[in-house]
Assembly symmetry: C2
Homo-oligomer: 124 residues x 2
DNA sequence: CGCACCTTGACAAAGTTTTGGTAACGTTGC
DNA sequence: GCAACGTTACCAAAACTTTGTCAAGGTGCG
């Protein structure tokens, strides 16, 4: 049998089995199937899964966003529409502070940020 | 004064004032400001806002995704990383059913879908 | 056969985003 | 000066996503 089962793949990639199914469903990974329908994870898929974790962690975005990127590259009409809109976009590059991009609204963590700030001051 | 105020802009675009501020914060729209700091919506911005609604409605995605698209086009490093990952992607185009893309998990609406189904049958 | 694994589908807890509201304070115009 | 609007900041309801878990049933292998 050519490939690991989902549980083994989970063990070596750090994703949970649930997430592995989710990722497949998101269209981000294609898998072979055994005759009985078992997902088969080959070396290539395992590599991709590991890379995926780093990518998401380091560039700070999620599966949803990556899924949209994939959708963009696959659907020319969508790409065209999005580009058409963005082309009439802000001239000034990066008028938004870098961190604003990470998650638009820091609002979400007001309290936490305040707390972190306190901590920082204590650390400093 | 060159441009509508936020409330007027809301009235002619169909967005709520709250959302207009949100959109600006998301980096999707740049606005002029009056000396006192009031947002000024010119014809161009109004047009963009209207287009935006159609775009989101018709292509079925949200501000977050559009924001990511913008982030992609502005941040070459991000774009490179994403492309590198996607390039080793599924050969078969569109193996996912079209509707699967809209929102990956229909799961969310199980009950609603069931209800809708019932309705459909009654309609039919 | 029996045990441990797989499949899909559903439900739901947890976490985020989206959207609205409200408070405190400045501006515009009559 | 007052009414009607603007600003930001914060809280919170609603909606959605992410992730876990469980049930019902199929597969693999000793």
């Amino acid at each position: 049998m050519d490939g690991l089962t989902i549980q083994e793949a989970a063990a070596t990639t750090g994703w949970s089995p649930r997430m592995l199914r989710y990722i497949e469903r998101a269209g981000l990974l294609e898998l072979g199937r055994s005759p009985a329908g078992y997902r088969l994870y080959g070396p290539e898929q395992l590599q991709r899964l590991r890379t995926l974790r780093q990518l998401l962690a380091r560039m700070n975005f999620g599966l949803a966003e990556l899924g949209f990127a994939l959708r963009l590259r696959r659907d020319p009409e969508l790409r065209a529409a999005v580009n058409r809109w963005l082309d009439a976009a802000p001239e000034r590059p990066a008028h938004v502070a870098p961190d604003d991009w990470l998650r638009w609204e820091q609002q979400k963590h007001q309290a936490l940020i305040a707390a972190a700030h306190t901590t920082e001051m204590e650390i400093a």
